[in-house]
């Protein structure tokens, strides 16, 4: 079975994020890492495609030929990666990104495509479904468990009320939540091996995509303003000296909640 996992490479969320003052887009200069949200997809794929002849391919679109995040996924055990990096892609919206990813994923001819439900820095939550529609694949979003059963996958999909069991024939696209599996840490051996695993570098032209469809040129949306939100007035912070519970009770009484 061939599984493709999309891996987004993002600025370290632990470092304070910023919007570029001129374009109001996220500042993605500096070193990028694998989005933690995609850890779960990589692990799930490795577990589902761990047999003889199975293969896990990573796909990422990122600026500046960035591969640090991809190396993390390769170190976890993926066999190879496809990276789409092209100056023409700067400023892409989700639909433009989906077009690029869909074209790149198709090259790996996957039985199953795994993506995260939403990324840490973009969180549109619609991009994976756009990829599925572009590729003509069925999709199941919000998976909290996945099992492959012959030529179909069985997914436990989170719902408002609990979860649904969903069965979908392959090929299909599934998006995973962080609850789907416990990701492994790359081993030293894995990290060393990742250095020599193949990364296929592609441009927009390689994918046969018209550059006017993607990047800032193809983006159908723009940011017109960024303003600070109304701040909450500062509250009272007290250290519990055994009276913490009483402070809470007094606060609730004042609000007439008790």
């Amino acid at each position: 079975m061939n599984v493709v996992v999309c891996v987004k490479q993002i600025p370290d969320p632990a470092a304070p994020g910023a919007l570029k003052p001129d374009t109001h887009t996220l500042d993605r200069s500096g070193k990028l890492i694998m989005d933690d949200s995609d850890n779960y997809g990589v692990e799930m794929a490795l577990q589902l495609a761990g047999g003889e002849g199975d293969e896990v391919t990573l796909v990422s679109m990122a600026p500046g030929g960035e591969t640090s995040g991809l190396r993390t996924g390769l170190a976890m055990g993926a066999a190879k990666a496809i990276l789409i990096s092209d100056d023409a892609l700067a400023g892409s919206d989700a639909l433009g990104t989906a077009k690029v990813l869909a074209a790149a994923i198709a090259r790996a001819n996957p039985d199953l495509v795994v993506m995260a439900t939403e990324s840490t820095d973009g969180y549109t939550g619609t991009l994976p479904v756009q990829v599925a529609e572009l590729m003509g694949l069925p999709s199941v979003t919000f998976a909290k468990a996945i099992a492959v059963d012959g030529s179909s996958v069985k997914v436990e999909r989170q719902t408002e009320a609990g979860y649904d069991e969903v069965v979908v024939p392959l090929p299909a696209l599934v998006t995973v939540t962080a609850g789907v599996v416990e990701p492994r840490y790359p081993s030293f051996k894995g990290i060393m091996a990742a250095k020599s695993k193949p990364v296929d570098n592609l441009t927009v032209a390689d994918l046969g995509i018209d550059a006017s469809q993607v990047g800032a040129a193809g983006a159908g949306q723009e940011i017109t303003d960024v303003s600070p939100a109304e701040e909450r007035a500062g509250g009272e912070i007290v250290v519990d000296e055994g009276d913490g519970a009483q402070r809470v009770v007094a606060f609730l009484e004042q609000l007439k909640v008790v």
Partner: protein, 323 residues
């Protein structure tokens, strides 16, 4: 160009429109002159009354989609309506599971982008601009579409207050599903409903939420007991949902529910931006955390720097003593 027609994707629970559906209809009335709804399900036509009461003049009835996930068939039906010459200026989707699936599929069918995580809509140069919280809600980003409509907006729950318009029952028009056989294959084989007692998380006046600081799953009982004593609902951070301590339906935040109760109590929750975005609109926030630097304290009206294992049992005792 004024904003004339707006469509709202209507969702239901137990045969009635969901609260977010009514919120979107109300806001659609604010910014547009004609409001219409799209609904699916065996008895979508029965929604003509309740949707009309919130301002919809027509309900496009996609009909029963069977056991499949609704993303594919509903998006195809809406695309057919739009391409049939009936295009609205904007379509509003609730940021729910189905809402996102349908918006994503439709966006490709129409080759239009989607604006997601919307919490506000305003008129701008005769079009619609949308507001989006960024960096945990510290910044508000305003965005708009640059091309032709319809503009697709995926909107977070509780962004607007629902108000009935007292409108008459909507007209019902059929919106049949075109042939989508190749992608319409994700079938629900079984539904699992988690039992919950007490008020609903997104409707309760008091929400008591627990996070990883509780230490282990068994301690979540303290959260449930406290919620019950306060006639409220029990919520959770994503960390403990992912860890399997509580079902997903308890999750508050970016990927979970948005809550705006009178009192929100965060116990052993750090206050990550993705959590804050789901509860920052609460009227009063109480936080209990042993780390005085925890970001949750930046939004707290009352912050207790302390150990949940001490403060929560004492609080439960004190409330019980009050009777």
């Amino acid at each position: 160009m004024a904003i004339d027609k707006i469509w709202v994707l209507a969702e239901t629970t137990d045969g009635a429109p969901t609260p977010v559906t009514l919120e979107l209809l109300t806001e659609a009335r604010e910014v547009g002159s004609t409001v219409e709804a799209v609904a699916w399900g065996a008895d979508a036509a029965a929604l003509a009354g309740p949707l009309g009461e919130y301002g919809a003049t027509t309900v496009y009835d996609v009909g029963d989609v069977g056991d499949v996930l609704p993303g594919v068939p509903v998006a195809a039906a809406v695309a057919a309506l739009v391409q049939g010459g009936n295009a609205p200026d904007a379509i509003l989707f609730p940021a729910t599971y189905e809402g996102r699936d349908i918006a994503g599929r439709l966006s490709v069918k129409l080759d239009k982008p989607v604006l997601t995580n919307v919490t506000g809509l305003t008129e701008s140069d005769g079009g619609l601009a949308s507001q989006h919280p960024a960096f945990g809600g510290n910044l508000i980003v305003t965005a708009k579409f640059t091309g032709e409509g319809p503009g697709l907006f995926v909107i977070r729950a509780k962004s607007f207050a629902a108000e009935p318009s007292g409108g008459a029952a909507a007209a019902v028009a059929a919106a049949p599903v075109p042939d989508v056989a190749s992608t319409n294959t994700a079938k629900v084989t079984e539904r699992h409903v988690e039992e919950r007692s007490g008020p609903k998380l997104d409707e309760a006046a008091v929400v008591v939420s627990g996070g990883r600081g509780l230490g282990d799953a068994a301690n979540y009982a303290l959260i449930e007991e406290l919620a019950k004593l306060l006639h409220g609902a029990a919520g959770a951070s994503r960390a403990i949902v992912d860890a399997g301590w509580v079902p997903y339906s308890h999750q508050v935040g970016q990927t979970g529910k948005t809550v705006k109760p009178t009192v929100y109590m965060a116990c052993g929750i750090s206050g990550a931006t993705q959590h804050l975005v789901g509860m920052k609109g609460s009227k009063n926030i109480i936080a209990i955390n042993k780390d005085k630097e925890a970001p949750i304290f930046s939004v707290a009206d009352l912050g207790i720097v302390g150990d949940v294992h001490k403060v929560l049992p004492a609080l439960i005792e004190a409330l019980k003593a009050k009777g």
